[in-house]
């Protein structure tokens, strides 16, 4: 049974959910990740260590296991039926926060030392130093790798299919279960992922190039 337009529409709809879930993961991950990045460069050793441990745990565990943990774990802890989007969303937010934190910490640390010193010498408070001097520069450096990581987020939303969330991959599986053309279906699914991710990848690379030109 061939792939019909209705099937294509269903898959395309899944792609929309992929974009939506990616946005949730990115926004949530960015908020938490930002705080974590600041924690990683905090003057307090305890804060630094705690953040570091969290990041290492999340980075050292496969996302799939994290998702299972949330899905089954939340159910057992008392939430009767966890909506798939919640388990998937939470898992992806935790995952993104750790990686974004590391990326942004690197960017904060690559703002040249003289900038930190100059800001201190101007008698700005730590808060002022961060917002007026350091962060604007760090953000410039961070744009390319952050966009690059966005691609990772989009790809990783495919795992949400495992907890039943109907994003692009799950849509593909559902269509396949009715027409039994797995290769064709997943080529279409791959194609949708590609047209979402490829422009982001290209953009990230061009940002990187522009940045390097500016820093020569």
């Amino acid at each position: 049974m061939p792939l019909s337009l209705t099937h294509l529409e269903f898959i395309a709809f899944g792609a929309l959910w992929t974009v939506g879930l990616s946005a949730i993961a990115f926004v949530g991950g960015a908020l938490v990740g930002f705080l974590l990045a600041l924690a990683r460069i905090s003057p307090s050793a305890i804060v630094r260590r705690t953040a570091s441990v969290y990041i290492q745990i999340v980075q050292g565990t496969p996302l799939l296991v994290t998702l299972f943990l949330f899905y089954f774990g939340l159910a057992l802890v008392g939430f009767e039926s966890v909506p798939a989007i919640m388990a998937a969303g939470l898992g992806l937010i935790i995952y993104s926060s750790a990686f974004l934190a590391e990326i942004w910490r690197g960017c904060l640390e690559s703002v040249p030392k003289p900038q930190w010193e100059a800001a201190e010498c101007l008698a700005l408070t730590r808060w002022q130093r961060m917002t007026r001097v350091i962060l604007p520069q760090a953000m410039r450096i961070a744009t390319a790798p952050t966009v690059g990581f966005l691609v990772q987020i989009v790809k990783n939303t495919s795992l949400a299919s495992v907890v039943g969330f109907v994003e692009l991959t799950q849509a593909g599986k559902i269509v396949n279960n009715s027409i039994f053309e797995p290769f064709t279906v997943f080529i279409v699914v791959a194609f949708f992922y590609f047209i979402i991710c490829f422009p982001l990848s290209v953009w990230s690379r061009s940002l990187e190039r522009k940045l390097n030109v500016g820093r020569r």
Partner: protein, 227 residues
């Protein structure tokens, strides 16, 4: 919240967990070796091959980097079936891992190859070495040494990504964990333990790569510095 943790229920399953970890390591090791060879060949092809090779490799890398690994596994798995080949889930898993990590290896090694200064190649040419000899002795060996940390990180990621192969019923740690939690109903504990084992495996793999570096890079062993 009225949940009582009971890690004790998992104790009798320790050998099963260990077997799963061992299977994950085997899968990852195989994929690492073949993926490295594939990636390095692609990198050389992209740096020095004819136009069509460069285009082919570039397309391969872009497709892999912009599609999810889960979808790649499905395509490899069903691809084999389409070709009429009956392969075990683990074989399909290794194949998919190799194809995936090959693309990332290609990019890492390519950066290494490009970091070798033209003057090194010139000096080797002036000594009369053939192109393949120059590639091996002067370009590839120091390039690999230079990108070794990036390669190590990539192969640790590979080991973590192998968990996804459980979704085509490959035998490895996550598949084992799924079975255990369905038998004991202790999902929280099972997946926490699984996570901890993966973290442990990450350290193990990194340590193994560090030791390996000391063996194959005598310069690093003797001088302790990076190239």
């Amino acid at each position: 919240m009225s949940y009582t943790f009971d890690f004790g229920a998992l104790l009798p399953f320790w050998p099963v967990f260990l077997e799963g970890a061992w299977l994950t390591l085997k899968l990852s090791a195989l994929a690492t070796v073949f993926g490295f060879v594939l990636g390095t060949l692609c990198a050389i092809g992209r740096a020095d091959g004819p136009q069509w090779v460069r285009l082919l490799v570039a397309s391969y890398v872009e497709v892999i980097r912009n599609t999810p690994f889960l979808v790649q596994i499905f395509l490899v798995y069903f691809g084999f079936a389409m070709l009429g080949l009956k392969v075990s889930a683990n074989t399909a898993a290794v194949a998919a891992l190799v194809v995936n990590v090959g693309a990332y290896t290609c990019e890492i090694v390519r950066a290494g190859l490009e970091s070798i200064h033209k003057s090194q190649v010139e000096a080797a040419e002036c000594l009369g070495l053939t192109r393949p000899q120059i590639y091996w002795h002067v370009i590839v060996r120091p390039a690999i040494e230079r990108v070794y940390p990036a390669l190590t990180s990539q192969y640790v990621l590979l080991m973590l990504a192998s968990s996804i192969t459980s979704l085509i019923s490959a035998e490895e740690l996550t598949a084992v964990a799924n079975r255990i939690q369905s038998e004991t109903f202790r999902s929280f504990e099972t997946y926490i333990v699984t996570g901890v084992i993966y973290i442990g495996l990450s350290f193990l793999v990194r340590g193994a790569f560090s030791l390996f570096a000391l063996v194959i890079f005598p310069r690093r062993r003797k001088l302790g510095t990076a190239i």
